[in-house]
Symmetry: C2
Subunit: 156 residues, 2 copies
DNA sequence: TTATTCGTTTAGAACATTCTAAACGGAGAT
DNA sequence: ATCTCCGTTTAGAATGTTCTAAACGAATAA
């Protein structure tokens, strides 16, 4: 049993892709639907077209909005909020990767610093100490490299 | 109540980091323990030190081995398998990112191609058609860029 | 041979995530 | 005012993941 419409197929595709990247399926389906649809859609449209509850659609719309992946636009003659997709997929992804990584790397650096602080009081093996120092170094260099990510991505 | 030993603290750190990257905690804890420990450890050592079941340790050791993150080494005087960490964290991560992404991007490209094949029979809006074409393009460029990832990472 | 040691596999318990359906509250409309 | 429309929030159902404990089988020891 094939689905018949392009938005159906495309949002299915986007949902599966999102899942494989450990986002959730709904986020992918919604973004995919808005990405492929010619005109902005309301919450009820989305919920109906994707056969998902309004509640779920609502939550994931807000998530997508917080990522800058969609924006709400007003449609004349309707009281409903309507949404359209930001078509700059690359930009969205670069931003998310950068934010996600920098948050985690910061936390990692903090934890490693705390570890090294307490390390002397624990008569640690110098070789082990060196491993931690080098790891902290890698984290720092990665953090700095992250700031150049947009420049790197510009070549895509 | 603080934990007292460095391996304890370090494997806790690694476990949390792994979770935040949507691996599982055990994989992180095990790799962290082996990374920080001076000598190779057996399955029972790991299971005891991390207070996790042998079964769980076994499964996640095999996972780590398949990633090239650890290797088994023989220890004289013991019948048990012993494991030590590959200390090249950067290399491990680069390899995993590359493999993970290229697999997914390939699938995405395949799906998008199937979509475009069937698209004519569905009298699609030319603007929508262009969006799909550009997306397919982005995927292709990203796949090619992935091959250069090791070179890029070398600057870290 | 039987007994012991070791790693893997299994069933299902514990936990976490994602989703639905329904209740809710605010903002017009009547 | 009440009624309707709309989006959010909520409780908990459905699903998915990760872990434990115990059974198992292969290999060695006795």
């Amino acid at each position: 049993m094939d689905s018949l419409t392009l938005p159906d197929d495309f949002s299915r595709f986007a949902g599966e892709l999102a899942e494989s990247f450990s986002f959730n399926r709904s986020v992918g389906q919604i973004y995919g639907l808005l990405f492929i649809h010619a005109s902005p859609l309301s919450l009820d449209d989305i919920s109906a077209m994707l056969k998902m509850s309004k509640g779920n659609a609502s939550i994931n719309l807000r998530t997508l909005e917080s990522w800058g992946a969609i924006r709400s636009v007003s449609v004349s003659g309707s009281r409903r909020d309507h949404y359209e997709a930001n078509q700059d997929v690359k930009g969205i992804l670069v931003r998310r990767v950068r934010e996600g990584l920098s948050r985690r790397l910061e936390m990692a650096e903090t934890s490693l610093s705390k570890l090294s602080e307490h390390i002397d009081s624990r008569r640690a093996d110098p070789a082990v100490l060196k491993r931690i120092k080098e790891l902290k170094n890698l984290v720092q260099r990665s953090r700095r490299a992250l700031n150049h990510l947009p420049k790197i991505a510009a070549f895509l």
